[in-house]
């Protein structure tokens, strides 16, 4: 008596069921991930976090020789003409310092400087330096991997910036690494304003090296060369961070909206060092969480004591927030 052989139809059915299960599993993952991202990102479960934990150092090691060679070449190229550039920049610094002095003088005389300084104390946000250790390997997405994670206080939804402007936001974290979606990614959209005219719109990533700023045509004063900054609405980015500069205006095809092409302020193709904004300042917490109980906030609201007037204003703002909530 030979070994029992499974009938062909049963094998085919088994294969079909397993493949169908795999397809269903991946679709379910996508749907649940979409929900998590809509809620501000996700802290990865341990079995997924392991991959990020391993990927970050490995990417750093694998990329080291490539980065070294690239840096050597770019440093060499940069050296050419550095002397003339240096002379030009020194002259420019002198001009800017002189201008700056005049502006400061004007601010001091008008009493604005003290108010600006106290405001800065209130909204100051701790910045965590992080190194970009890997970039997205798929050409259809724009994200980077940074070497700071939950253990450093990084959480999904935190903004990532450089000195030049907005880079993106954290979408997933493990203990020592975080995945950051760049503003160039197709999934990215930021509520923004034109710095000069305060015209509002939405900056969207389109998967290329440029962004699109969609704004309502009526009463909008938008021209080429305008700076686009974050509006502070939307709950993710603080107000006033630079996004980029308008390089071209296009007709979106509709009567109501127009599209402007925006050159990002940050060179997102050559990111090395970034800063994660660890938490929002007290004023922003009040604004963003005004419909939540104070006790629900992660950190107690801190009212700075440097400026008496600002304390009064903060107390009033807190009372208003509480009243609004009730």
């Amino acid at each position: 008596m030979g070994p029992r052989v499974m009938p062909d139809w049963l094998k085919r059915l088994g294969i079909l069921l397993i493949v169908a299960f795999l397809i269903l599993l991946t679709i379910t993952s996508m749907v649940s991930d979409r929900r998590a991202i809509a809620d501000g990102g996700r802290e990865l479960p341990w079995w997924q976090a392991i991959v990020l934990e391993v990927a970050a150092p490995v990417q750093r090691v694998v990329s080291a020789p490539v980065d070294g060679a690239r840096d050597f070449f770019s440093n060499y190229v940069d050296l050419i003409g550095a002397k003339a550039e240096n002379r030009r920049l020194r002259r420019r610094i002198a001009e800017v310092e002189s201008e700056n002095l005049q502006f400061r003088e004007a601010l001091v005389t008008s009493g604005h400087l003290a108010r600006v300084a106290s405001m800065r104390d209130e909204i100051e946000i701790p910045l965590l330096p992080a190194e970009v250790v890997g970039i997205d390997v798929a050409p259809w997405f724009r994200s980077v991997l940074v070497d700071r994670g939950e253990e450093h206080g990084v959480r999904p939804g935190y903004p990532v910036i450089t000195y030049d402007g907005v880079v993106g936001s954290v979408t997933a974290t493990s203990a020592h690494a975080a995945k950051t979606m760049l503003i160039l990614d197709r999934q990215s959209s930021i509520d923004a304003v034109v710095q000069r005219s305060r015209a509002r719109g939405v900056v969207r990533g389109v998967g290329r090296d440029q962004l699109e700023f969609e704004f309502v045509v009526r009463e909008s004063d938008v021209t080429t060369g305008d700076e686009i900054v974050t509006s502070g609405l939307g709950g993710m980015y603080p107000k006033g961070l630079r996004i980029g500069r308008i390089s071209e205006l296009r007709d979106a095809g509709g009567r109501l909206t127009k599209i402007a092409i925006v050159e990002p302020a940050v060179d997102l193709g050559r990111l090395e060092q970034v800063f994660v904004m660890l938490r929002r300042g007290p004023i922003m917490d009040l604004l963003y969480h005004s419909n939540r109980l104070e006790e629900e906030l992660e950190d107690p609201i801190f009212v700075p004591s440097a400026n008496k007037d600002s304390n009064v204003n903060m107390d009033e703002a807190m009372r208003n927030a509480q009243n609004g909530k009730q």
């Binding site: 990020l52 694998v62 990329s63 690239r70 997205d136 259809w140």
Partner: protein
Amino acid sequence: MKSFPVLIVLGLLALMVQGAIARMVPPPWCPDLGWLVVVALGLRWPRFLLGALASTTLGYGMDLVSGSLMGQHAFLRLLTYLAAAFAARQLDLSGGIPTSIFVFAATMVYGVSVVSMLSFFVGAEGFDFQVLSDAFCHGLANVVAAGPVISLVERILVQFSDQEVARRAPLSMGLHGGGFR
């Protein structure tokens, strides 16, 4: 069965190497080595179910280091594997030119699918001429890298597999003899 973990490791290594290449060349010109491993599995590995499992696993690995929705690459890589396995069992894809045509066409479909899925799930902008042109460039890069990757997978299969890699003969769906393969 020995070849399964080896191929998974190869696929993950391919992702790391791809990460290093991505720092040197602009995105569409960086070949998707991890995806090519999946294509090679579909074209050359006779163990259908293990191939499907390996493709899904590698897809999830890609999802973790990419900005995609979790499961998006896994889903598309599984479909790529199924398409490659089906094509290899119906057509003669052993030669360089047929394989290149398949890789190029599959890359185009993959690119358009990724963008369409984003449009469906996230409401991102749909595919336009730029997407097609990126997919075209990416397809060319993948065609160039396909030869070495498929050869490497073949070598591993010959080295670790208990059966010959059926390069020219149409592959079975793993239904004959000895239960599931």
